[in-house]
């Protein structure tokens, strides 16, 4: 079975500070990993994805994530956050042709202006 754990339910940082949101996954085969963001009362928007290759992937709005097979992790980072980054961030995993994308419980990010 596939699963995703986001150990931090809430993260609060000051504007301009660096950010790391943690994600651990469990998947028996080659994982396909995603980070999505959800703003209040909206659907999900893709930030970035990893399929293969360079373990550090760049996304939109200055976000990046690093895949670690040995740690089964896919942590999201940003060098300097803005108040508009306040949202809920979801990590997700799937595999080849499974038709099933499994999400973590999400991390609520609050950025103090």
């Amino acid at each position: 079975a596939q699963s995703v754990t986001q150990p931090d339910a809430r993260v609060t940082v000051s504007e301009g500070a660096s950010l790391q949101l943690r994600c651990k996954y469990s998947y028996s085969a080659t994982p396909y990993l995603f980070w999505y963001v959800q703003y209040p009362r909206q659907g999900l928007q893709l930030l970035l994805k990893y399929y293969s290759g360079d373990p550090v992937v760049q996304g939109v709005n200055g976000f990046e994530a690093e895949f670690s097979k040995s740690n089964s992790s896919f942590h999201l980072r940003k060098a300097s956050v803005h108040w508009s980054d306040s949202a809920v961030y979801f990590c997700a995993v799937t595999g080849a042709n499974t038709g099933k994308l499994t999400f973590g419980h999400g991390t609520i990010l609050r950025v103090h202006p």
Partner: protein, 113 residues
């Protein structure tokens, strides 16, 4: 450009009443389609997915059903709503089964009283 439209935006329904939510994708032929449910403040749980017209796979049993009457349309319904059906329903599409990115609609907020 591809667009995904969900309707209605919000619904307030009584327990025991019927429900029908819709989703239409324009600009992409033969997409894979998905329904997700999100409890208030919770993670996203996949309910159904479909790879072709008339074919729907159930992932979780929540006394809901789904149908794909046209290539670009996905319908979620039930004849009798339960209180537990309240939440946020998201439709999504992708190009290939599970390996490609899911693109989400803006969702339908359902309140069952």
């Amino acid at each position: 450009a591809q667009t995904i439209h969900q309707w209605p935006v919000a619904e307030i329904k009584a327990v025991g009443s019927p429900l029908s939510l819709g989703c239409t994708i324009k600009g992409k032929s033969s997409p894979n389609l998905y329904w997700y449910w999100q409890a208030t403040g919770g993670t996203l749980q996949q309910l159904f997915y479909s790879i072709t017209v008339g074919q729907v796979e159930s992932v979780v049993q929540l006394n809901l059903s789904a149908s794909r009457p046209k290539d670009d349309q996905f319908i979620l319904s039930t004849e009798k709503l339960l209180l537990s059906h309240s939440g946020f329903y998201l439709c999504a599409w992708s190009l290939l089964g599970g390996t490609e990115t899911l693109y989400f609609g803006s969702g339908t907020r359902l309140t069952v009283l």
